[in-house]
Amino acid sequence: MTTHPDPVRETPEVAPVEPRAAADVPPAAPAAGSAPADWAAGVDTVPRAGGTPGELQPYAELGLRDDEYERIRDILGRRPTQAELAMYSIMWSEHCSYKSSKVHLRQFGEKAPPSDRLLAGIGENAGVVRVSDELAVTFKVESHNHPSFVEPYQGAATGVGGIVRDILAMGARPVAVMDPLRFGAADHPDTARVLPGVVAGIGGYGNCLGLPNIGGEVVFDPCYQGNPLVNALCLGVLPVNRLQSKAAAGPGNIVVLMGAKTGRDGIGGVSVLASATFDEGSEERRPSVQVGDPFMEKLLIEACLELYDAELVVGIQDLGGAGLTCALTETAAAAGTGMRVWLERVPLREPSMEPHEILASESQERMLLVVEPEKLDAVLKTAEKWGVWATAIGEVTPPAPDGQPGRLVITWRDHLVVDVPPGSLVDDGPVYARPMREPADLILLQADRAETLPRPADPEALRETVLRMVASPNLADKTWVTEQYDRYVLGNTVLAQPEDSGVIRIDERTGLGVALSVDGNGRYARLDPYHGTKLALAEAYRNVVVTGAKPIAVTNCLNFGSPEDPGVMWQFAEAVRGLADGCAELGIPVTGGNVSFYNQTGAAAIHPTPVVGVLGVLDDVANRVPMGFVPRPNGDHDQLFLL
């Protein structure tokens, strides 16, 4: 692992286009000529796309609707190239564009109480709240449900890796993780495959990164049999003035890709875009499973923190679900700038990768940096010190002279393969107000009240009931899981399992700390998504309060079935309304979160499962209140109250 000594200006063999060209005459045409109608070295170029408007493109297979595809053609004034089509299909997917949830999630902002603590809110990689004059914390929970069903170990491991990079991108040092989990029936054979793999994956990655696991949930319910929920939360701490931005500001600044090499991880989705020259048997070469390398991530964390402290980066963004596509477009769109990228400079694990594959790859453990040219050497040196790759792959270009945002121009071996307005991928995606209808069975479900259940009538029946409850997997001891997680590392864990909240000391001098709890109850939410979500919030809030902390911020992961099902959409809308109302009543803001739709096997969706995380502050963790009774000196006794 060495640093790639390849600053943008010194790659003679590719003779790149003058970077300015992109801005002066958008859309830029590359110097290199490509015969319009021919495949240029196996790739679909912008000139070629201009010359072959009628060429059929597999947009439907990529999940784009007819009208969405038409919009892309409108935006570009031509058909998209293969690489562009891949980019739009990813960025306009439900996962990246929040196209079904956006109209509802607005409430979090609209109903939020004013907060002078909020340094970064929804829309950033993670929300950041100030906890003292000098320090801020950032936290967020995210799902990695489907990958964890396909390959439990790697799916869960890369779920942890992903959320950790989100936190890192804000300028924070990650300091703890939590993992709310949902599995199918405890005695189902597939649970025996999924659960141990997920737990080992979360432990394997988190332990290897040196992040204490300070809490989570393990819930069993048959509704999760084909759709286990693997949510991961990460907490980070930063000095207030180290907050990082994702904006690719400053034309002339260098775009650097740092971390692991890029391989064909997670590109299953765009594999229909095989080029004309692509050979037989290509399917096998397109794994959609991402494999994590926590060791690389640990090095990446240390390298990034060193870069922040030396003030060597202007902007930074993690590479997550949509890989380079998302990172390039979001950083440029956030600044209104353009970007010029030489794609062949991306270090590849497999040399045969094509432009659309490089852009779509979800290879783990990568970050995108924006660096002033005179600081590039120092950045590369830091990367080298920590043994991670860092490669200059492009340059920030100015907005258009008329003030319009710049364009993202990408070449691959001299061929112009992408020329798009970055904002069109990030902000101008489709937004749907999907039909909603209360599920028809809800009235029946609600009518079937607990009062109708048989009650234990005698001591023997009561004993039976108690034993059955004690033995039920949802109430049983979770040590088998929590023992596989390191809760001591970093030496700041004040409370972890079996406590109601995790408590982490974040300042050794003052004792300042935070408490965190994540909770959710899919059964309550199924019966009444509005109140079920409020209850999840209330539970997490209570769990934080009982440690002695003052709750100040909320994160959430909304796990639902298909948004195309009006019943699910109704559940979702109700849940969001419940959370927004609950937060307004409690006076704390939602600072971030994640939506996971399509947790569905055939027509059967999981219970709506909003998972809510609440973060509170303790001015001195020495005053935390643990769950158990603490023996008092000189025989004093605690007094018990039931509120």
Binding site: M1, V150, E151, Q154, A260, G263, R264, D265, E284, R285, R286, P287, V289, Q290, V291, G292, D293, F295, M296, R349, E350, S363, Q364, G387
Partner: protein
């Protein structure tokens, strides 16, 4: 008695952090002419009776390899051959 050896390797396109870590360590012990290192598992199965390749393939498929990310091969090896070759 011959035994069955199952070799399980990550599919070529899957990231192999183990192999990479070893490859990166080689220069430190003075080795610079290695292009790549891949690390997998070698599983030796001894049967109570005749070694059974089909049976071994079934075990590999169900239990030893993770078909999502790994490939495997199954072959017969003379017991003494392996032992002798050990250095």
């Amino acid at each position: 008695m011959p035994r069955v050896v199952v070799d399980v390797m990550l599919k070529p396109e899957i990231l192999d952090p183990q192999g990479q870590a070893v490859a990166n360590a080689l220069p430190r012990i003075g080795v610079s002419d290695v292009a790549s290192v891949r690390i997998g598992r070698r599983i030796e199965i001894e049967f109570t009776g005749e070694p059974d390749l089909d049976r071994a393939r079934e075990i590999a498929d169900k239990l030893l390899a993770n078909p999502v990310i790994e490939d495997f091969t199954v072959r017969l090896v003379e017991a003494d051959e392996t032992a002798d070759a050990r250095s």
